[in-house]
């Protein structure tokens, strides 16, 4: 053991710095299944409290759905707990193949390969298909896992201003000499809940002969009329070359991700994607549950329809209550407070009112754009939404921000 005093002092100093910057992340212990209504111990050691959860990615309310739990139990009984192997040695069961085929059908793609997470899918895919003579042209606000994946790839990196098609076109013109180009974007951006203009992106990709890659983690299962994702919402089903997405959000919320898209790219991932080659297989219990999730959402759009109704209702009512929100149609509803301390204070007070939300501030969002990110679920009932709106209204009144816009809130509380 050689954990020297020097190393210990250094790491202690780093932790102190994080605390002083106000960005130290504390975990809250949930003592119930994930759902709209949860039991939380916070702070650690305090007595537990029943709160309504408005910060999970449980968009379709399937995390603890009885049919999904039953399917997980069946998987455990019929295929065991762990596989003790990567996929290509002895970690592939028939149910893995079944899920990959179901995901391809659902997403409208040629083929799919599972990864341990979407983080892993994003970390692996670029290095497999692009090299030094190629260009990655990414939206500036893509998810951190894409940034990491691009860093692992030798291709030249370009980025364009968020959702700015004129700037993207400039970058496509700049990179005409490259062998291959790939336009890279999130389908839905997780901090603002805004949607990439995939129809326009595909148009530019066709004009300039570039591939398109979309991380659709915050869309798979519910965006678009039948929940296929942002590509369905934007009318470009079948035109996205690479989709990465997660089983960890709407699709049951456990873990696991995938690369789905052109068959050759997926096949190459199986041969060369390092996170795929060197991570254990996704366990059977998750696979059988995910198979059930795809069955459920392929059979009926009831859950995504309810999510859409809940989202429309919440967005309307919270706006009527006088909050300044980022407009849109996505169940991520950013309630803008601009000042970091105000966002923390409002979130803390809402917790006391039984509403669990989190304040986000720099560096997660740009400076001066602190907010509370509300996430709506099909698991919420109307009374849950009403209770949240009423609590928000009470706390908004306390801080005198109802009916106030950016300028006025900043005047009162500063950046």
């Amino acid at each position: 053991m050689a954990f020297s005093g020097k190393a210990k002092d250094f790491y202690t100093g780093e932790l102190k710095g994080i605390r002083e910057a106000g960005t130290f992340k504390e975990e809250r212990f949930i003592e119930s299944p994930q759902a709209a209504n949860i039991t939380v111990e916070y702070p650690v050691g305090a007595s537990t409290q029943q709160v309504l959860n408005f910060c999970a990615n449980n968009y379709l309310g399937l995390s603890s759905h009885p049919d999904v739990i039953k399917a997980a139990h069946e998987g455990l009984d019929s295929r065991g707990y762990g596989m003790s192997s990567v996929r290509f040695i002895c970690g592939t069961q028939d149910i893995h193949d079944e899920l990959e085929k179901k995901l391809s059908t659902f997403l409208g793609t040629e083929a799919t390969v599972l990864f341990a997470s979407c983080m892993d899918a994003n970390a692996g895919v670029f290095d497999v298909v692009l090299d030094k003579e190629d260009a990655m042209i990414a939206d500036r606000l893509v998810h951190a896992s894409i940034v990491d994946g691009m860093r692992l790839c030798k291709a030249q990196l370009y980025n364009y201003k968020h959702a700015n098609m004129a700037h993207l076109e400039e970058k496509l013109q700049e990179t005409q000499e490259c062998r291959f180009r790939m336009i890279i974007t999130d389908g839905v951006f997780s901090m603002d809940g805004d949607i990439a203009p995939l129809d326009k992106i595909v148009e530019l990709a066709e004009k300039y002969d570039a591939m398109v890659m979309v991380d659709d983690s915050h869309a798979t299962g519910f965006m678009g009329k039948t929940g296929r994702g942002t590509h369905e919402h934007c009318g470009v089903l079948g035109k996205i070359d690479v989709i990465t997405t997660t089983l960890g959000k709407a699709l049951g919320g456990a873990s696991g991700g995938c690369v789905s898209g052109r068959k050759e790219i997926v096949d190459l991932c199986r041969q060369r994607a390092r996170p795929y080659l060197f991570s254990n297989t996704v366990p059977p219990v998750i696979i059988t549950a995910a198979n059930k999730v795809i069955d459920l959402i392929s059979k009926t759009t009831a859950r995504r329809d309810k999510l859409e109704d809940n989202t429309t209702y919440f967005r309307e009512k919270i706006t009527e209550a006088g909050f300044d929100i980022r407009e849109g149609v996505h169940p991520i509803v950013p309630i803008m407070l601009y000042n970091a301390k105000l966002a923390q204070d409002v979130a803390r007070d809402l917790y006391q009112e039984g509403i669990y939300v989190i304040g986000f501030s720099f560096p997660v969002v740009p400076k001066g754009q602190a907010r509370i990110r509300v996430q709506i679920s099909a698991g919420h009932e109307k009374e849950h939404l009403d209770k949240a709106i009423s609590a928000f209204t009470k706390i908004g009144g306390k801080y005198n921000i109802l009916g106030k816009g950016k300028k006025e809130i900043i005047e009162m509380y500063g950046y």
Partner: protein, 84 residues
Amino acid sequence: MNEDLKKTIIDYVKHEYLEDEDEEEIDENTPLISSGIVDSFSMVSLKTFLEKKFEIKIPDEKATTDAFDSVNKIIVLLKEFNVT
């Protein structure tokens, strides 16, 4: 200081990083990275631009967030490559 050089970099930063609706003004001393105008990820475009424009190669150990934190600091860095 070479005014043309300063203007070239400021114009690039404005075009590349500021949104059309941004009211922010940038001068040679405006913090770029530490203020969040340029994040460490998109700093790559700025490095690539400088390398192409002035036909130089800035090694990664020199392309630090501190060295790119203002137009003035970038000008100091460029001097090392005889760009003035």
